[in-house]
Structure formats: structure tokens, C-alpha cells
């Protein structure tokens, strides 16, 4: 058995090896590399500055002996030290492609309800409806058994019904935090290495909501469908025993433990559409004797009811992914439109970088587009104070009407303009204001 000094020495030795195997980036290489972001077309002034910089860059690069990649595809890559890679091909991003999923034979996708429970074991999954009716089973997990805190998604993969791990919540994670989730106009995040649950407004204002109980670390938090409550998971620091807690999302009271303590292991399953929190008593905790698994639905007022499901494994929520999974921006938009009560429309007519969509607002079709990791290059339009506290948006003229824009986390959103109905300032500002609370991001200030 190694002692702690062996470990310290080994960590130091491994760090030195990592250093030797990493590839430093020179300033010239950074300048020659194309940043992995999409940008709107630059204005003429920036083009001139870019050309000038390129001239200087060329001189610097020549002086530094920099060699560009021979791909000729725009120069994305600059040759640095290309030591052999031992990294296996990484899995595809969940949320942009179909994740590793397991088939549900004999379960027609069209017959499934919108959501339900899934009893997950290493051997596979049993799918239930929310009323406990068994819907189907499948064997195996090609991508590994889903972790306790992950929701599942059921999708139609070319006529085959499959169940897999749902993409993470697209809510923006604030700096210093590890995860975020949004619902009902409330964004909550796990911060300070799981010590604290924080509520974040669209303006970026943060308010602490709940500190982790002594000896525990928050591992997941989900706002209720109406945004007024939170359902959180925590694990003990010593033996990863789980507990689930329910509390007001404004932090006015400490969360109340629903399941899990020193003798039992429990976790939060999720929210029912009627606003009840579902939790599971998984078994005995921290080496205690095994106890039968049970599932409860708790009203925020305090009444609990046991649900007619006796899982063999860990219970998860699943939902139906109609039309596939979509990327983060698509999912953010669809959730925002749904929660704001807006009808979506007309994506085929809209041209957008990473999101091309539209909503219907008082009979008018209003385009909604977004660019991931975009940079705002304002043409000097007016500012509008959105009807969201602390948030302002820009409004500018573009062909086809007035367009509202705002920076939402790292993304730039545009509302209004061609090719849909001609829009005016009040319309684009109103649509932006309606969507912003449900995009679960921080809208950067425009002035200053």
C-alpha cells in the first residue's frame, strides 16, 4: 500500500510527464490559428484592421520560423510539436448527434407518452409511464450505465425506438460553477465545488439559495416546472451516500431532506408535470443493511405518497425526443418558446448561423436566430430596456425590418427582420423580452 509521500511524488512526476507531452503555443501560432468561434461578417473598419494585423503577423511569423499547416483549408491548424497521440477518438457531443443508446424492441415510438420513469440497472432498462405502467424493456448499455443524476431520452432512430442519456441542460453555467439547470423562469447552478446552490437572474445577478449540509456536496439541482422550488441531490463526502432535498428556489428557507440519511441511500428522480417532486429510496447507505427500494411523490406543501413502482435499480426520468435531439441552441429556443407560451414556426424560411427559427407573436411571424460564440458588431442602433429587470437589448434596422439583438452567455440572438413579417421596435422588443427569462443565460449589458 503506497503512502502519501509516494502519491505526492507520483503526482509531481506525472505532471512533469504531462508537461513534456503537451504542445506549447507561441504568440505567432495563436495569431495564425483561427479561433473556434463563429463570427458575424466583420464591418469594413475591422477588415482594414485585420489586413493590417495580417501583414504584421506575416512578418512576425516569418521571424519566428512559423510553418503553416499544408491543408490549405483556411489555415485552422498551425504546425507545432506533433508528437504521436495516444488519445482515442472522443465520443461525439451528446446533444448534437444520437448518443450511444439501447434499443427498445417492440415499442413503437408513436405509442409512447411524452415522459415517464426508467428503471435502470447494469443489465438494461425497464420503461414505465408516469402512472407506473410498464412500456418496454431493453438490454445493455453500449455507452455505459447512465449515472444517477442523468435523465434519459427516448428517440426514433430510423424506425427503431431507442433509449439513451439525455443531453445536459443547455442553461448557461456561471463562472465558478459546475452545472446549471433552468425551468419555470428560474436558473439554478451548483457553485463553489458543490458547496452552494446559487440562483442567477438574466441580468447575471446571483443570490445564494442553499448551502450543502455538513458532510455533503450538492451534485445536482433542478427547478420545479413553475420555477418556485428546487429539488437537489447531495452526496456524502465520505462514502458517496445520496440524499435528496426540496426547498424554495428563492432561498427563503433551507431545503428539507426527502430521502437519504446516514442509514439510507436516496436520490431525486425529477419533477412530475403536476409539480410534485419524485424521489427514490435506493437502499441502505454507507455499508448499512439492504432495504427495499421505494419511490415517493412529494408535494411542495409537505404531503408524500408512495408511487406504485418498485425499481430493481435506479429510477430515472425519461422524455420523448420528437424530431431528434438538436443542438444546445435549438433546445434552448424550443424550451424558451414552450415555457413562454409562444407558438414556433417557419424555420425553413429563416437563415441563421446556428439557430434558424421563428415564433408567432400576435399573428405576426417573427424570426429568431442565434450564433453560437458570436461577437456583437453593432452598427450603432438604439438601445431598448427589455421588460426584464436589469436587461437591455439593442434594436437596429436591417433589410426587412427592425431587429432586436442581445448577447446571451457566449451566444448572440437576433429577433425579427427578414424574411418573415416586417417587424417594428415594440414587437421585436416584446418577443425578446418574452424569451429572455426562459433562455437561462446571462444577457450581457450593451451600454458601456
Amino acid at each position: 500500500m503506497p503512502d502519501i509521500h509516494d502519491v505526492a511524488d507520483a503526482v509531481h512526476s506525472l505532471a512533469e510527464d504531462l508537461d513534456a507531452r503537451s504542445r506549447p503555443t507561441t504568440p505567432a501560432a495563436a495569431m495564425a490559428r483561427t479561433a473556434p468561434v463563429r463570427r458575424p461578417r466583420p464591418r469594413s473598419g475591422r477588415v482594414a484592421a485585420g489586413v493590417l494585423a495580417a501583414v504584421v503577423l506575416a512578418a512576425v511569423a516569418a521571424g519566428a520560423g512559423l510553418t503553416r499547416g499544408a491543408g490549405g483549408d483556411g489555415g485552422d491548424r498551425v504546425e507545432t510539436d506533433q508528437s504521436p497521440s495516444s488519445t482515442p477518438a472522443p465520443p461525439a457531443e451528446v446533444g448534437t448527434t444520437v448518443p450511444p443508446a439501447t434499443q427498445l424492441p417492440g415499442v413503437p415510438f408513436g405509442d409512447l407518452p411524452a415522459a415517464g420513469f426508467a428503471d435502470v440497472t447494469a443489465a438494461g432498462v425497464v420503461l414505465f409511464s408516469l402512472d407506473g405502467t410498464e412500456l418496454g424493456t431493453s438490454a445493455g448499455w453500449p455507452g455505459g450505465v447512465p449515472g444517477r443524476g442523468r435523465d434519459l431520452v427516448v428517440l426514433d432512430d430510423n424506425g427503431v425506438t431507442k433509449v439513451g442519456v439525455a443531453p445536459p441542460d443547455p442553461a448557461q453555467i456561471p463562472e465558478g460553477c459546475d452545472a446549471a439547470a433552468g425551468a419555470g423562469g428560474t436558473r439554478l447552478a451548483l457553485c463553489d465545488a458543490g458547496d452552494e446552490i446559487v440562483r442567477i437572474d438574466p441580468s447575471g445577478a446571483q443570490a445564494p439559495v442553499a448551502e450543502a449540509p455538513a458532510g455533503y456536496t450538492w451534485s445536482r439541482v433542478r427547478p420545479s416546472p413553475d420555477g418556485r422550488w428546487l429539488l437537489a441531490d447531495a452526496t456524502t463526502d465520505d462514502c458517496d451516500n445520496g440524499m435528496a432535498a426540496l426547498g424554495p428556489a428563492d432561498g427563503s428557507e433551507d431545503p428539507t431532506t426527502l430521502v437519504g440519511d446516514a442509514l439510507t441511500d436516496g436520490h431525486a428522480v425529477g419533477w412530475l408535470p403536476d409539480g410534485r417532486a419524485v424521489t427514490q429510496l435506493v437502499g441502505g447507505g454507507c455499508g448499512q443493511a439492504d432495504i427495499p427500494s421505494r419511490v415517493f411523490a412529494s408535494e411542495t406543501g409537505g404531503d408524500d405518497a408512495q408511487l406504485p413502482i418498485e425499481p430493481r435499480g435506479v429510477l430515472h426520468m425519461w422524455s420523448r425526443a420528437d424530431g431528434g435531439l438538436g443542438a444546445d441552441l435549438d433546445r434552448s429556443f424550443l424550451r424558451a418558446a414552450r415555457e413562454a407560451g409562444l407558438e414556433t414556426c417557419c424555420p425553413d424560411f429563416v437563415d441563421g448561423d446556428d439557430l434558424a427559427a421563428g415564433v408567432v407573436w400576435e399573428g405576426s411571424q417573427v424570426s429568431v436566430t442565434a450564433t453560437a460564440h458570436g461577437v456583437v458588431l453593432s452598427t450603432g442602433g438604439t438601445l431598448e430596456v427589455a421588460s426584464v429587470p436589469g436587461v437591455e437589448i439593442g434594436v437596429e434596422s436591417e433589410p426587412g425590418g427592425r431587429v432586436a439583438w442581445f448577447a446571451c452567455g457566449d451566444d448572440i440572438w437576433h429577433v425579427g427582420g427578414a424574411p418573415l413579417d416586417v417587424t417594428d421596435d415594440p414587437t421585436v422588443a416584446a418577443v425578446a423580452s418574452a424569451l429572455i427569462p426562459y433562455l437561462y443565460c446571462t444577457v450581457a449589458p450593451i451600454s458601456g
Binding site: V11, R21, S22, A29, V60, P88, D178, D195
Partner: protein, 163 residues
């Protein structure tokens, strides 16, 4: 001529920024994501810094911000579920390295932030405040990552003696 001087000055200031942040940024990202993804992420972050240099230059903690840019780059390039390659298969086999067998596996079991915190502080010897700056978090948060990361490593390796 004036434009040329300004451009040269911009390049020079960017060079100074790179000299200040590149080693720590790369080490943090390599610790979190491995030598290949981490190196690419550091390069992407610095490329982003060049494109947004005025904004980055004005930041109190550009390294902490660029750490986040690097994280985003990794997420875009490799998705959210990434095995940590560590020092490669040879490490755990004990071959050419002097590591405690299983250390790579133990580090792979940590979260990215925990791994970065452990390697920055205990591997590279960064002071807590500097390591916290590189990861864009408070010292208290870094301590939490460190404590939990080390506890998991000790548990995985069967180390029972406290430091």
C-alpha cells in the same frame, strides 16, 4: 505608419500576455483534458484571445477567462464525455514511468476541476491563489476541489495516511 505602429504594439502586447498566461493555461487544460485535447484547447483559447485582444487585455484575470474558453473549445471538439488519457497506457503499466501504479486511473476518476486543481498545486507547485486564478475560481473553491480530489485519490489507491 501610425496604423502600423499600433498593430506592432498590439502584437507585442499580445506576446506579453501569452508569456504570462500560456504556461499556466496549458498546464491547467492539459491536467483537465490530457496532453492532446488540452494543448489544442490552450491554442484555441489563445487564438480567441488574439481575436478579442482588447477585451481580454482589459480583464482582471485573463487566464481564468481563457480557461473557460478552452473548456468550451474542448466541449465543442470532443463532447462532454471524455476519457482522461493521462500519461498514456504505459503509465499504469509501470513501464518507463515512476508513477504509483493506478495513479492515472485515480486521476481519471476525478472531475476535470479536481484533476486540474490537484495537478496544478501538487504536481506543478502553483500557490493556491495562482492556481485558483488559473481556474477562475476562489481559493476556497480550489481548496474544496483539492480536498475532494485528494480524498478520492487516497481512496482509490488505498492510501490511509493523511498528508
Amino acid at each position: 505608419m501610425e496604423d502600423g505602429d499600433r498593430a506592432e504594439d498590439r502584437v507585442a502586447r499580445f506576446g506579453a500576455l501569452c508569456a504570462a498566461v500560456e504556461p499556466g493555461l496549458r498546464r491547467a487544460l492539459v491536467a483537465a483534458y490530457g496532453p492532446d485535447l488540452g494543448s489544442d484547447a490552450a491554442a484555441d483559447a489563445l487564438a480567441w484571445a488574439w481575436e478579442h485582444f482588447e477585451r481580454v487585455e482589459a480583464m482582471d484575470n485573463p487566464a481564468g477567462y481563457l480557461w473557460r474558453v478552452g473548456q468550451t473549445s474542448v466541449r465543442r471538439a470532443a463532447g462532454r464525455r471524455r476519457p482522461w488519457p493521462g500519461a498514456g497506457p504505459a503509465a499504469d503499466a509501470g513501464g518507463e514511468h515512476s508513477y504509483e501504479p493506478g495513479l492515472t486511473r485515480a486521476l481519471a476518476g476525478l472531475s476535470e476541476r479536481q484533476r486540474a486543481a490537484v495537478l496544478l498545486v501538487h504536481g506543478y507547485g502553483y500557490p493556491l491563489a495562482e492556481a485558483a486564478g488559473l481556474l477562475g475560481c476562489r481559493v476556497r473553491t480550489l481548496r474544496n476541489h483539492l480536498d475532494r480530489g485528494l480524498a478520492k485519490i487516497r481512496l482509490t489507491l488505498g492510501v490511509t495516511v493523511d498528508a
